[in-house]
Amino acid sequence: MKMILLNVYLNELGIQLDISSKGKRIVLQKVVYLAQAAGADLGYRYSWYLNGPYSTDLTRDYYKLVDDAESQAEAPKYVLSDELSQLLESIKPLLTKPHIFREGEDDWLELVASLDYAMRVLRMSPDNAVAFVKGEKPHLAPYAEMGLNALSESSLGLASA
């Protein structure tokens, strides 16, 4: 059942089970992080690694899911609960990178997930979170404020706290 849930959840978020590149795996990790932060919790807990928030258990599960033909066959028979669907819907605007963001989708998600992690888990103020992300991720530094603004306009709400 757990694998079916992960499958349906990722489908709802428009994430394909294609994890052939690091960029795609970063997208999956960060999308699930942000969706969970919005309240659509699957129980994956994140630690801090090179590319920001990362869950070992999610890694283990999505590789398992890729090999799990039974769960993939069963998944189309299910939909998410209304509450979970609404929560996922609420986070979708944040998942789309702005036109003026010149880097990749994985970079955008890494940026906003890292900012949220800095505020939510490390309990930093928005200003400190921006400084932290600039220091940890120099390639994303020019966009740190843009990421913070996007977070403050999203359903996550921490950035304006």
Binding site: K2, W48, R60, K77, L84
Partner: protein, 486 residues
């Protein structure tokens, strides 16, 4: 010299003497830490190795000690930490296991499996019949890993908090180290959780001492003396200690085969997990996050065997609950399983195959596994075994692994982020480092392409099925003669 203020000395069979300073001695005296005396480090391994019944408390002291030695060694080699950070790391090591469930990982696996399934049921509904989720989601349906329970203990237990805060230490910062949440402020978090960490060092040394197996004969002090940090701040070892590091990794591999994956230990622990899941299902136990949080917040012992009191949650209480469960379910398969545990009668191992094969391709082994399972299912029907009387167990074990589940050496880079936890060797330039398994002179570079695949089928026979089940083993050998039987 950092860490030179001994308040208390603890005698230890592995490390000789473990010095503790004042805050550590006071932490040791808290009730939540003392509870660890009553939780065995190795689950049910003592059913096979009678002396392997040491506690999480002894192990936690050992991890704290090794963490201190490691940071001191780095300081001697020119990579000093501040006194405050040194203390934070030691406290994180001391408290990283304070949230372990009774019987340690044995129960933890059952708890996580059980609540993950309940949670999934609560979040899905069927398309065709429109039936909604069976229950509401929330902390009542969340099972959490012991590290997260440790965090809850640090945040919720008043006595522990008071001790830490009175010495100026922030409990949430301590938790962030063993949860690896804040590697920017605590870059040495890997010392408590990685391939070559204090946790694994103490585990191997202590397990070896307690079981009588020889795998603890590692060059521990030499390894510590050769620690360094590269130009990016990553902890690594000097190249001349590469053999000692490989010896350690191999020793760990053999220890796992002999202790953790021992056929009787695996059989008994799986049965315990099945019984625990049944008791969770019948609300005879409740280890949900909501209950764990509430139990910790009780802050003190409660009378009798109050199931909602954290300090009461120890191995004896769980075994006693299982005994009660057995008394009331003697005529059921669950009762049969509980009795196996109480009387130390492991389930019958009727099939066991294993082989070492390329790690990237488990298909040949999967084919054998399927053939053996199919042959077993046919035989099981013939002798009337019920579905819950048997179970299968599968593992693929990389010869060098990170965090017990994720291969450190994955050349397809599937787990690249977690490779931060693997052993690194300082390069000739004395500034940069690379992974041990990338070193062409390393045994690990060859072994990393292989995995040991294991598959077993266990049966819990009823008294009138004993003979038929005993014969199953040879019958299955005959049914699938080409399988890699052990």
């Amino acid at each position: 010299m950092i860490g030179d203020r001994t308040k208390k000395s603890v005698s230890d069979p592995v490390h000789g003497t473990i010095p503790l300073n004042e805050v550590e001695a006071r932490v040791m005296q808290t009730q939540v830490f003392q509870r660890l005396r009553r939780v065995k480090q190795l689950g049910l391994a003592h059913y096979v190795y009678p002396s392997a019944d040491y506690s999480r408390l002894a192990h936690s002291l050992g991890v704290c000690h090794i963490t201190g030695l490691t940071i001191q060694s780095l300081a001697r080699n020119g990579f000093a930490e501040s006194e405050e950070d040194y203390q934070y790391y030691r406290l994180a090591a001391l408290l990283h296991d304070v949230g372990h469930y009774p019987l340690s990982h044995c129960t933890e696996h059952a708890v996580l499996d059980y609540y993950e399934e309940r949670r999934a049921e609560a979040k899905l509904k069927k398309k065709d019949d429109g039936s909604g989720p069976k229950s509401h989601d929330g902390e009542e349906l969340e099972g959490i890993k012991h590290e997260r329970v440790s965090e809850l203990v640090l945040l919720e237990d008043k006595e522990l908090r008071a001790v830490l805060e009175s010495h100026g230490y922030d409990p949430s910062k301590i938790a962030s180290i063993f949860l690896r949440q804040n590697t920017a402020d605590f870059p040495l978090s890997n010392l408590i959780s990685s391939d070559l960490d204090a946790d694994r060092f103490d585990y191997l040394l202590r397990s070896s001492r307690a079981t009588g197996l020889p795998y603890g004969s590692i060059d521990f002090e030499y390894l510590l003396s050769q620690l360094a940090r590269d130009e990016d701040g990553k902890v690594c070892i000097q190249k001349k200690a590469m053999r000692a590091a490989e010896h350690f990794l191999l020793s760990r591999y053999f220890d796992y085969q002999q202790v953790v994956f021992h056929k009787a230990v695996v059989g008994l622990e799986n049965i315990t997990q099945q019984v625990v899941r049944s008791m969770l299902d019948k609300s005879l136990l409740n280890y949900s996050k909501a209950t764990v949080r509430e139990a910790i917040a009780q802050n003190g012992f409660r009378s009798g065997r109050d199931v909602n009191c954290w300090l009461n949650w120890d191995d004896d209480q769980l075994m006693s609950t299982i005994l009660d469960y057995y008394r009331e379910n003697q005529d059921t398969v669950d009762g049969l399983k509980a009795r196996c545990l109480l009387e130390r009668r492991p389930p019958k191992l009727v099939a066991e195959i294993e082989m070492i094969d390329p790690r990237s391709d488990g298909r040949p082994f999967k084919a054998f596994q399927l053939n053996v399972q199919t042959a077993f299912n046919t035989r099981a029907n013939q002798i009337g075994l019920e579905r819950d009387q048997h179970f299968s167990w599968y593992r693929s074990v990389e010869l060098t692994s990170v965090a017990s589940r994720i291969p450190a050496t994955d050349r397809s880079k599937k787990f690249e982020e977690e490779r931060e936890k693997s052993v690194r060797i300082m390069k000739q330039d004395g500034r940069s480092s690379d992974f041990l398994f990338n070193h062409r002179g390393s045994l690990m570079s060859t072994l990393s392409d292989s995995a040991l695949y294991m598959f077993r089928i266990y049966v819990v026979p009823k008294p009138d099925q004993e003979v038929a089940v005993t014969e199953l083993k040879s019958q299955l050998w005959a049914d699938v003669p080409d399988a890699p039987w052990t």
